[in-house]
């Protein structure tokens, strides 16, 4: 008996430590786990778990809280794999927890180099897993593989130079035997790239520069040597279509951000989505959302992959849904990159339509200048990096949006100095802050946040859930037509995904700056979300 028991436990442990790529590629078959940053490769943030429903969601009850020792914004999405949760303690610690009790199995602590200088938060948005390793990108631009059982480093490579402004802040993406990461640093005059590393050894397999080099196609879209310091960073995890073997990544703003005078041209592949061959990193197609951007409209949103029958056609088409920081919602054919639909989802003044090839027609006056130009959406965008969701159950695309939001864009001189900020001006608020710290004084007509449901076949709005403050929270939907999200005010809530009706809420007392996720252990469904400096986990009252 004793021998049998030992054998049984040993088998369980061995099974739990192996997350083969076949499991990740079919993640929708094991909805009890959350195997990638966005749940699975199509990045819909849609769960097939059904225990929590619109009828019983009011019975959600707090199960446990993990208090991170950090005051940084908590933007991570945890993974849950075979009874272990892996998440981040900012900036770059990895914590393995029991997802039922919140008790900690192990912690890996990383002290980033003092050279690290991420522009907008000393944080990480999550980890990836493959086999028996967990992968972490750090704000000093390292990629580290950890042993999933004890958190000890297995290998550690420098992706790029932290002192030059490079950082890794997103959760890596594992495809086959490779770990894929991109570099942040769009405010420091970097030259962006996406790399693939051998998951077993850490050896770099390929690199795709997000700005083409001299002689390469697309380099002509940068005047002179401006391509060398043109930014085009990567700071949110991409997606993957295993049938096409293409991986899709959103690319950040060109640099200097607010002064395009010395980078005449479209500035490819800034503010674009690129489709890369996952084995070689070779570019298959691209689509640029905001050519020659001067408004900091990073296109780092998570590419959401869906199969939809578009109006006027008879076949189901492989598409990509994209709510962009520039205020427009897009449907793009993900096999070819063909533009199918583009429509504003918030107030937009920088463009007034598309040409026949899907290129936005810019309003001539919509340029950053020395006096300041008023543009909608403002610098933080109609949305930003916060993940949207697509529900195959409702057929709707859900986006966290900033409405009635504008900035004055002011152009100033910019001189490149390695490792220093390279902005060339910046945005200005139009009105005094109507939300200052913990205090909100806004009135109607001033910027606000909204969960907006969009019909991807038409781009039409279906419903809104408005909030009194703007939001940085992501969205998750479930097969029971629930939608979970939150906002800056510290509420975590559930809506009916069919009509936006509020079904449940909890006041967590800290800004929700991440996307909720869900998992199931021993038949019990849990929902997790970060707010303030802590991770909160809910399940139905028993």
């Amino acid at each position: 008996m004793k021998k049998l028991l030992i054998f049984a436990f040993a088998t369980a442990a061995a099974a739990s430590a192996q997350v083969g790529f076949d499991r990740i590629v079919q993640a929708e078959k094991e909805p009890q786990n959350w195997l990638t940053y966005s749940g699975n490769f199509n990045s819909q943030r849609y769960s097939k778990l059904t225990q929590i429903t619109p009828d019983n969601v009011k019975n959600l009850e707090l199960q446990w809280v993990y208090q991170a020792h950090s005051v940084e914004k908590y933007e991570a999405t945890p993974l849950v794999v075979d009874g272990v949760m892996y998440t981040i303690q900012n900036p770059d610690d990895v914590v393995a927890l029991d997802p039922v009790t919140g008790r900690i199995f192990w912690t890996f602590s990383w002290t980033p180099s003092p050279d690290s200088r991420p522009c907008c938060g000393r944080l990480s948005r999550g980890v990836a897993i493959l086999g028996d390793k967990v992968f972490l990108g750090t704000i000093d631009a390292h990629l580290i593989a950890l042993d999933a059982r004890n958190g000890k480093p297995v290998w550690n490579v420098e992706v790029d130079k932290a002192a030059d402004g490079y950082a890794v802040t997103h959760a890596p993406l594992v495809i086959k035997d490779k770990v894929i990461v991109g570099v942040a640093g769009g405010e420091y005059g970097i030259r962006g790239h996406i790399d693939a590393y051998d998951a077993a050894t850490g050896k770099r397999v390929w690199r795709f520069y997000t700005i083409p080099g001299a002689g390469e196609k697309g380099n002509e879209t940068w005047a002179g040597d401006s391509w060398k310091t043109g930014g085009a960073s990567v700071w949110v995890t991409g997606s993957y279509d295993p049938d096409l073997n293409l991986t899709y990544w959103g690319i950040g703003n060109p640099g200097p951000d607010w002064n395009g005078d010395h980078r005449a041209g479209d500035n490819l592949y800034s503010d674009s989505v690129v489709a890369l061959d996952a084995d070689t990193g070779v570019l298959k197609w691209h689509y640029q959302f905001s050519p020659h951007d001067e408004f900091d409209y990073d296109s780092v949103q998570v590419p959401v992959l869906a199969d939809i029958q578009m109006p006027g056609t008879s076949r189901v088409r492989k598409v990509m849904l994209w709510g962009n920081r520039n205020g427009l919602f897009y449907v793009i054919d993900r096999t070819t990159g063909q533009f199918l639909l583009g429509k504003p989802f918030v107030k937009v003044t920088w463009m007034n339509g598309f040409d026949e090839r899907g290129r936005p027609m810019k309003v001539p006056q919509a340029q950053s200048n020395r006096e300041g130009t008023l543009i909608y959406p403002g610098n933080q965008g109609g949305t930003n990096w916060y993940n949207p969701s697509f529900s195959p159950a409702t057929g709707l695309f859900y986006i966290p949006a900033w409405e009635d939001y504008s900035s004055f864009f002011v152009k100033q001189d910019a001189e490149y100095v390695k490792g220093q900020t390279f902005g060339g001006g910046g945005p200005r608020n139009v009105t005094p802050p109507v939300v200052a710290g913990n205090f909100n004084y806004r009135k109607d007509g001033e910027q606000y946040g909204v969960i907006r449901a969009i019909d991807p076949k038409t781009g039409e709005k279906k419903w809104d859930f408005p909030m009194s403050d703007v939001t940085d929270a992501g969205i998750m939907t479930t097969a029971t037509n629930l939608l979970f999200s939150g906002g800056r005010e510290g509420y975590f809530f559930a809506l009916d995904a069919r009509n936006g009706k509020l079904l449940w809420k909890a006041a967590l007392g800290g800004r929700v700056s991440s996307g909720p996720m869900t998992y199931s252990i021993n038949g019990r469904q849990y929902v997790a979300v970060c707010a303030g400096s802590a991770l909160f986990v809910y399940a139905l009252r028993q």
């Binding site: 020395r370 300041g372 002011v410 910046g426 200005r428 009105t431 802050p433 200052a436 004084y441 005010e489």
Partner: protein, 256 residues
Amino acid sequence: MRKIILALIMAGSLAAQHELGGTTYTKTDIDIGNRLYIANCIYCHGPDGDQIAGVDFTHAKFPRSRSDDDIVKILRNGIPGTGMPAQTMPEPQLRTIVAYLRSLPAAAGQVLPAGADASRGKILFLGKGQCINCHRAQGVGSYFGPDLSDIGMLRRVVELDQSLSDPNAVIMPENRMFRAVTADGTTLTGRILNQDTFTVQLIDSKERLLSFQRSELKQFSPIDRSPMPSYKDKLTAAERADLIAYLMSLKGISQP
């Protein structure tokens, strides 16, 4: 008439541009810099920028810096060994503070007449002006309106003069008034303290701290005009100067 308004707006906009050291700043830059200055600098440097010995922003006296870039550098790094801390805000914001500092000499002429007297102003504040019916200063008066106990550290003469003559010219968001109608039909007027998607918090004219669920209110809407009357005709110019002198003397209450 429309043309006149346009001309006025243009004049205002031109007047607001400042060109020093080759850099032109817009009114937007100066306004934002003003807010950042109030939030980060004013408690040491004072509203006129002359509270630190040897430093006087209103008279363009910057002992450690000449150019705008020098000032940005000092803001970013602080001055070791002094009380001047490094500011962590991004450079565009630092530049707006410079814009504001460069705008201060234009208001240097806005000083009180020689005879303005703070003690007479205090009597007006407590009596004829009826200021304490809404405002509070140094532990006396109503909680309903903005507390003015440290207004002399936050505002310049020119700004207080404008508020007395035309209270609607600038209403800071934190001083907004709202009207709430409860389920039983009771109408309340209050200064907004906070709100979110589901709740609102006010202090009302009876000085009560109130919190409501939005769902239990029939109406909740801003009152766009200030409840404060204009003192342009209620007080003489000399009285207004006395009152401003008193307000400028209010530099906060020492903490117990």
